[in-house]
Subunit: 427 residues, 2 copies
């Protein structure tokens, strides 16, 4: 049990309820601190499965859980749904959008990442990314609507453009989206249209580098490519996109018609890094010291996708396990300081392996010495994801949906919802 | 197997994929007709459970299924996602929002109902209704946000206003919403806040008439009222609302502060009735003859909430079973005509009973000679709804969610999503 937690306790403010922020919060459960966890939404999101919401395989609540609910029994934490608008390092206060201020003794910034378009932000209107539940639902709507539009389109060229999909970026997200989209076109929607054959849809995965899954060993990249092609995905490597607009994507002079383009090619750190008024790296991330604090400001920590950590000459990747490990480490450091113990060993990221799934029975898994591909990789992926999901009910629900999808090729969440204020007629 | 279905077949156009439209479509599966089912959305919605999505108990895809998927094996139907903008009875064409026209031999209008504010449409901004999935998700967002706002509000009077909820209209929808909301406040959210006690929320059910559930026998109305009060709902009957604004609802000179007001008090027919250029009843519904066709236009049928049918001096209610029966009847009439058979007996609504649920173990059921209340009614309600849901997967998922909720008082879908284009700061 923590020491009496009252207004005079050491106040830890944590911004961001993702993997880093949540694991830091839990790590401080028995520490003599008062915690305020600030998030602009009300839920913790299991981002690795966002692409499943985007492809209508799961519903939004399946992969998210309210932060208040997750933390309800942790008495020393208060959850605050709010947006941070400023950070004052001198007075040790953060400003919130509703006009109020929060004073902190220790601050942890864990607000994650958003999309980055390499300086071409105007592409965002035509090629949305996939970082939040709202992104996923909007993408789901666009994917399903594309088939509806194709069905109603009498002109063959325009119909083909509606049935042309492009995913930019050959990392795990792009690979997972492309494989799933191909499955939807060739299996899920098979009998359901009268004027089009959904299986004739073209799904292109466009990657600037020489191979997909560049973070994986080459042999697994090759297997992934093969599995994608077997699913009907056209894999275009060594193909940097030069422009994106409503017609499609451009490769220099050549325009490839595609009414639906998805951006899975780059992320940038949350704008909170800029509010710190320290030097940032090229992606807007905050370089941190060995204990994950800001140089010169031991009371300010950064963890997760917002942090820039170098290890053995390479940056620690922006993946969920890294964020969790960082969050836990920050909690360890804070506890150690308050107990007057010596410094904690430097943070070291343990790479537990990489997984990417490609459709219902294919995947690749890089587990260090063990490389899996095909069905064994897929089963490993499935159980790992279910295990790491928060909440028993979510695990049950996701298992139910996936079992259903596996046997029937059906997808559980194929509902098109109007965005508020918009009609259902959009170009 | 239907006769060869080709472009010269009798073309039936059905507008609306709800209960009436869907049951009419299915009823024509083996008829020598070509069917186009037009809906502005892509899904069939199980409306009786909308309040569950609104109160975060179920996710949107749990109670909806894509029309294309439901009808995929019915070869003589084509599903068209479109909005109807006009009806020309002379040329026998309907106009769609995308500019195209659909010619029909037989037309069935089954586009249902929307909210009605008795001439006070400006109340809609402060007291949204519950007719579509979009309504339900917006309401869910407002309900969950109200508790978040209360938690962050230092002023006691404003906090109390955020914790004050009002549902206007004591029919089944209002009763179900009120009971569920009270459960959420007193049980689901119990440990999760630090500055407020959610159980102190005030939930008022405001009904202009003398009793709730006026369509039920008096004894059951009384039982429902008791069950509501046991849940902590303040039932205000004989209380007509005179005005609604951002502060709350007005009863003459008295203003009752309530930041969240929900409208469950009245429906009006879809605007498609007006496009027919015939005389409508007061609620905008289309009066129909004994075979559910428009007087003077035997080729135009109206079914479901859009139809005004008198039976034994009383209007047939706008409930799901009535809509299904009407849809089936229209299909029967059309088949009979095409086969050259005599007229089908007049439509007659069979009232199979009324159900309303009030919280997790209470309900009332009017099954004619049999009246149930309390736990037996609730179990009947549960199995009836699960049975009538479309789709095995949906039934499984809903059962899972309800079983979970029953044992834990938890609700499966408590996710607040930003509407596109809006920030999360709203007053």
């Amino acid at each position: 049990m923590p020491d009496a937690v009252n207004a005079s306790s050491h106040h830890v403010v944590i911004v961001g309820g993702g993997f880093a922020g949540l694991w830091a919060t839990r790590g401080l459960a028995s520490a003599p601190v008062r915690i305020t966890l600030v998030d602009r939404g009300n839920h913790h999101l299991f981002q690795p499965l966002l692409y499943q919401v985007a492809t209508a395989g799961l519903s939004a609540p399946d992969i998210a859980a309210p932060l208040r609910h997750i933390l309800r029994t942790q008495r020393n934490v208060e959850v605050r749904m709010a947006t941070v608008t400023g950070i004052d390092r001198n007075t040790r206060c953060i400003a919130l959008a509703d006009g109020s201020m929060l004073a902190y003794d220790t601050l942890l910034l864990a607000s994650g990442a958003t999309h980055a378009y390499f300086g071409n932000d105007q592409w965002a209107a035509h090629a949305p990314g996939l970082k939040t539940l709202e992104d996923a639902l909007m993408l789901r709507r666009r994917l399903l609507l594309a088939f509806e539009r194709a069905e109603a389109e009498p002109d063959p060229e325009r119909r083909a453009a509606w049935l042309s999909f492009a995913i930019v970026g050959g990392g795990p997200t792009g690979v997972e989206l492309a494989g799933t989209l191909a499955e939807i076109a060739r299996h899920t929607l098979r009998e359901e249209f009268r004027n089009i054959d959904p299986a004739s849809a073209r799904v292109r995965l466009v990657e600037a580098g020489p191979r997909v899954l560049s973070g994986f060993p080459e042999a697994l990249s090759a297997k992934a490519r093969l599995q994608l092609q077997r699913l009907g995905v056209e894999v275009m490597t060594g193909t940097p996109v030069t422009h994106i607009d409503a017609a499609g994507f451009h490769l220099g002079a050549r325009v490839v018609p595609a009414r639906t383009v998805v951006w899975a090619a780059g992320v940038a750190a949350s704008p909170l890094g800029g509010m710190l008024d320290v030097e940032l790296d090229r992606a807007g991330r905050v370089p941190v010291t060995a204990d994950l604090s800001v140089p010169g400001h031991p009371e300010i920590f950064v963890a997760g996708d917002l942090a820039s950590v170098q290890q053995d000459g390479r940056p620690v990747p922006g993946v969920a396990p890294a964020a969790k490990q960082m969050g836990r480490h920050v909690a360890r450091v804070v506890r150690s300081r308050l107990a007057g113990r010596g410094a904690v060993p430097a943070f070291r990221y343990r790479d537990l392996g990489n997984l990417a799934t490609i459709g219902r029975r294919a995947a690749v898994a890089d587990l260090g010495r063990l490389h899996l591909s095909g069905a064994p990789a897929w089963w490993f992926w499935l159980w790992a994801h279910v295990f790491f999901l928060i909440g028993f009910r979510n695990r049950l629900s996701v298992l139910l949906n996936w079992t259903w999808a596996y046997w029937t090729y059906q997808r559980a969440a194929r509902i098109i919802l109007d965005p508020p204020g918009a009609g259902s007629d959009e170009g």
